[in-house]
């Protein structure tokens, strides 16, 4: 007797065989997916049909599914190896009947596919840090892994940005046959009386070298590092004239656009899944249960940790639901009290933020103006003055998250919302501190317009100063990450391990908090995007920085940290990382566009010294083009084109929105229909079993104990119902009922 239940069963065979129910098309389709498509089993299938003969629908179903299966590759069939082999042999047999030309084509396509697979596997084996990431995955699961693959992505991104700047800006300068003597130009345009620069001395102090290296000053001003070095209008190669200002501007626009495209491409997959059905919460219960276990975990302790965190997550989510229920039951008096409390706390938060921003502003203006002081006290104090903005920003970014996490406890939100809201506040704080820094620099540069001698170093070449500021921020960020790992996390681990006092045990090991780590990275990357315009070598420095940070963080994770109690899921991590990165990129575009289009470029240095603003290099280049090209570009920039393009885009958008609305309606209707059909079917099965009264009644008790001996799938319907209850009520209102 052929085993025709859908899945291999463990006990004795089927208990009830209801020949009528076996003809249900849905049951037949499940059977068909299990068995292979060989003629033998098809024959046996036909043999099993009941006395009432074949149903035509069943035949048609078989044909359609056979053709569907044929189109899929053999490897995609969910059968064991022996059956796949049989399937493949059968297909080869059928192919022999085809013409030789088609045969050759099939063989060639198979060969090409194999070649592509080999190339693909070769490329993926060349991926950076493959074994390290595999090790982390095995020890900690996919949540923390997403942070490290994010780091890898940033290394690649920064490397590409550096290559763009190198090829279009630095390489022509390096290959320049007539290099300009930079030193002579320093005094051009210098109308103010300045004291002889201490950096021009031949023999310098060892201390001053270190200060110079760390602040991008002195000798570094005259290297490829900073904007001020690229003071060339045109580079005359043997056959071609290379316009450096245009190249510089276009390279800047190019790397911003490239970053945007790459980030959007990378996040496209995640967005698509998120936008398809927006009613679902992003981290639904099904996602946690069915996709909850990381099958790649190999260590026992990590498995235990994963179990604990899953348990914690589930309990918190269930409590979330209960709290939401409770919140809906709040009285008006309660609500007023809570809203008042929230308003007060938010005002307090804004006050704290305003204080931080003001201190950043003061620190930046002080640091810029300290150059004018004649007496250099001490090299350490000098260094502190140079790094004052960085120090203030880092301290503010360290204190505010702690403050936010304390405040949020009093605001009485649901736990999931609390986490998200705190995170949003931290993101805002990080990005706003960069904005305040740039604003204070901008106000300084504005002062230069009125009084060029108030701050000679800034006013002569403000781009270089901004570049130096960004360089200092990057270096300091890296030093802080290194210092925190060595001087805070490592001693903490030693303390917890070797000290037996209760305080140490309560404090515990450092948690590897993914959000805070990602915000650090985001901060560094935003600085890099803004700073590359003023400091073309910054992307290379950032590449090296992220390269080192990978190993530092990996070591810290393995040796010092325990994973967070409430885990960050891999999918929402990717969404979060790329989302904040996109925000950082958009933020970075604003200062660059303002400085390119509005602020007057310095006359004494840089490629744009001949132009009023940096943007003017582009129209000047357009003027030099032939007439036809010029007309095209003028047309593209004219109002007619812009307005019509805008109108067409709006129409397309409205069409797509309407289409999506219509699809949604259809989906809802189909869902309702499906529920109704299911009810119909259950009702009919009940009636059928009733009509076949005696044999079914005898085996009815066995039906209700499914366990090991439960046979085919459709009886699970009947086992869910109490027959007496169904009989007592009238049949459900079905769509087929007239």
């Amino acid at each position: 007797m052929e085993d025709d239940s859908v899945f291999a069963i463990g006990g004795s065979g089927r208990i009830t065989s209801n020949p009528l129910l076996d003809q249900l098309p849905s049951y037949q389709s499940l059977l068909y997916r299990r068995k292979s498509s060989s003629v033998k089993s098809r024959g046996s299938l036909k043999g099993r049909l009941s006395v009432s003969g074949r149903l035509n629908t069943v035949n048609r179903l078989e044909e359609r599914q056979k053709s569907q299966m044929e189109q899929r590759a053999v490897s995609e069939l969910p059968f064991p190896m022996a059956e796949k082999r049989r399937h493949k042999d059968q297909r080869m047999e059928e192919r022999k009947d085809l013409s030789s030309c088609r045969q050759w084509r099939e063989g060639a396509s198979r060969y090409m596919k194999r070649l592509m697979d080999d190339a693909h596997s070769f490329l993926s084996s060349m991926k950076l840090w493959r074994s390290d990431i595999h090790q982390i995955e095995g020890m900690f699961g996919t949540g923390i892994l997403s942070y490290f693959s994010f780091l890898r992505f940033l290394v690649a991104l920064n490397l590409i940005i550096f290559l763009v700047m190198f090829c279009f800006v630095m390489l022509p300068m390096i290959l320049d046959p007539t290099p300009r003597n930079v030193i002579n130009n320093q005094h051009q345009g210098n109308v103010c009386r300045t004291h002889p620069r201490t950096t021009r001395r031949i023999l310098k102090n060892y201390h001053e070298h270190i200060v110079d290296l760390l602040s991008g000053d002195g000798i570094l001003e005259r290297t490829y590092l900073l904007y001020g070095f690229y003071t060339k209008d045109e580079i005359h190669f043997p056959k071609v004239i290379y316009k450096l200002p245009l190249a510089y501007l276009l390279a800047t626009l190019g790397y911003l656009l490239l970053s945007l495209l790459w980030i959007v491409k990378r996040s496209a997959a995640g967005f698509k899944r998120h936008l398809i059905k927006d009613e679902d919460r992003f981290q639904s219960f099904c996602n946690k249960i069915f996709a909850g276990w990381d099958f790649c975990i190999t260590s026992e302790s990590a498995a235990k940790q994963k179990r604990n965190s899953l348990l914690y997550e589930l309990k918190t989510d269930l409590e979330d639901e209960r709290i939401k229920q409770k919140m809906a039951d709040r009285t008006t008096k309660d609500k007023c009290r809570i809203y008042l409390l929230r308003v007060i706390l938010n005002m307090f938060v804004m006050g704290v933020l305003a204080a931080c921003f003001f201190s950043i502003y003061v620190a930046t203006t002080f640091s810029q103006n300290v150059e004018n002081r004649k007496n250099k006290v001490n090299f350490i104090v000098d260094l502190i003055y140079e790094y004052l903005p960085s120090i203030v920003i880092t301290m503010a970014n360290f204190v505010t998250p702690l403050l936010f996490s304390v405040i949020i406890n009093y605001e009485d939100y649901s736990p999931a919302f609390e986490i998200r809201f705190t995170l949003m506040r931290c993101v805002f704080m990080r990005l706003a501190s960069i904005t305040v820094l740039l604003y204070s620099l901008w106000s300084q540069i504005d002062e230069c317009r009125e009084d060029p001698c108030s701050n000679p170093k800034l006013c002569q070449c403000w781009e270089t100063r901004v570049g130096q500021e960004m360089y200092k921020l990057t270096i300091f960020d890296f030093i802080i990450i290194l210092a925190v790992t060595i001087f805070v996390e490592f001693p903490r681990k030693m303390l917890v391990k070797f000290c037996d006092c209760r305080l140490a045990k309560m404090w515990g090991l450092q948690e590897f908090s993914i959000p805070q780590n990602v915000l650090e990275i985001l901060y560094g990357q935003t600085i890099c995007w803004i700073g590359t315009f003023y400091c073309p070598m910054l992307p290379a420095i950032c590449t090296i920085k992220y390269f080192c940070i990978f190993y530092i963080k990996k070591l810290s994770l393995i040796k010092n940290c325990r994973p967070a109690t409430r885990p960050f899921r891999a999918s929402s991590s990717n969404f979060f990382f790329l989302g904040v990165l996109l925000i950082g990129l958009i933020l970075a575009c604003f200062p660059i566009s303002i400085s390119v289009a509005q602020i007057k470029s310095s006359q004494a240095c840089g490629p744009f010294s001949k132009y009023n603003t940096s943007w003017e290099a582009l129209p000047a280049a357009v003027e030099a083009l032939p007439q036809s090209a010029r007309n095209v570009i003028y047309f593209l920039a004219s109002e007619t084109f812009a307005v019509s393009f805008f109108v067409v885009t709006c129409l397309a958008m409205f069409y797509v929105i309407a289409l999506a609305g219509a699809h949604k309606k259809v989906i809802n209707q189909l869902r309702e229909k499906l529920v109704m059909e299911g009810q119909d079917k259950r009702f009919l099965i009940q009636k059928l079993c009733q009509a076949q009264s005696v044999p079914v009644a005898k085996s009815a008790p066995q039906l209700h104990s499914p366990s090991r001996q439960s046979p085919s799938y459709h009886t699970s319907f009947s086992s869910n119902f109490n027959e007496a209850v169904v009989l007592a009520h009238s049949p459900p209102n079905s769509s087929t009922h007239v």
Binding site: R114, T142, S284, N287, K315, S716
Partner: protein, 189 residues
């Protein structure tokens, strides 16, 4: 067509490449790891079958709460004892590999989660599933009230025809919307 003692024949290698999602290196690595599990005398057997207890000593499976179910699902033995031949092992790795399609993964995930092998995920299956995920000991389980709430939430989200169970199509539908599944349902040697 099994494997000879220590070498994998070239034509069977290319056949396995065609029938599974694994690359050549992955198949060779799998062959090496599989032969390490065999005894000396078993290695000369044309088609050796490794018992479940030995398979479960692999580090990739040792800490997995679903290890017995995985072996049972991929086993082609007559006694349903979870023992695997080399080809079963390749099928296992293929379904869990990086390049396997979502459909294959969700199909096998459904079979793994279907503890009583009846073709649907009913209350008992889901309860066993949650207990596997959270741990088997008394203090790591959810209370029965929480379990009931959790399973009713799951069924709310996935049971489209409202029959109280999740069948294969509903499971595949909910998995296609789950963003974590592809990255977590992966075993790489």
């Amino acid at each position: 067509m099994g494997t000879t003692a220590s070498q994998l024949a070239k034509d069977s290698l290319s056949e396995y490449q065609e029938l599974t999602f694994l690359t050549k290196q992955e198949i060779l690595l799998a062959h090496r790891r599989f032969t390490e599990l065999l005894d000396r005398d078993e290695r000369n057997h044309p088609n050796p079958r490794v018992p479940m207890e030995v398979i479960l000593t692999l580090p990739e499976l040792k800490s997995n709460p679903f290890k017995t179910r995985i072996c049972q699902v991929f086993s082609t033995s007559e006694d349903k004892d979870g023992s695997l031949t080399f080809e079963d092992f390749l099928d296992l790795l293929s379904a869990f590999s990086d390049s396997a399609t979502l459909e294959i993964k969700s199909h096998y995930a459904f079979r793994i989660f279907d503890f009583d092998d009846d073709g649907t995920l009913d209350y008992g299956d889901l309860e066993k599933l949650v207990n596997c995920l959270t741990g088997e000991t008394e203090d790591t389980r959810l209370t029965s009230e929480e379990m009931r709430q959790l399973i009713s939430n799951i069924l709310d989200e996935s049971d489209i025809d409202k029959d109280g169970t999740v069948n294969l199509s509903e499971f595949q539908h909910v998995i296609s919307r789950s963003p974590d599944f592809v990255s977590s349902f992966k075993i790489v040697l």
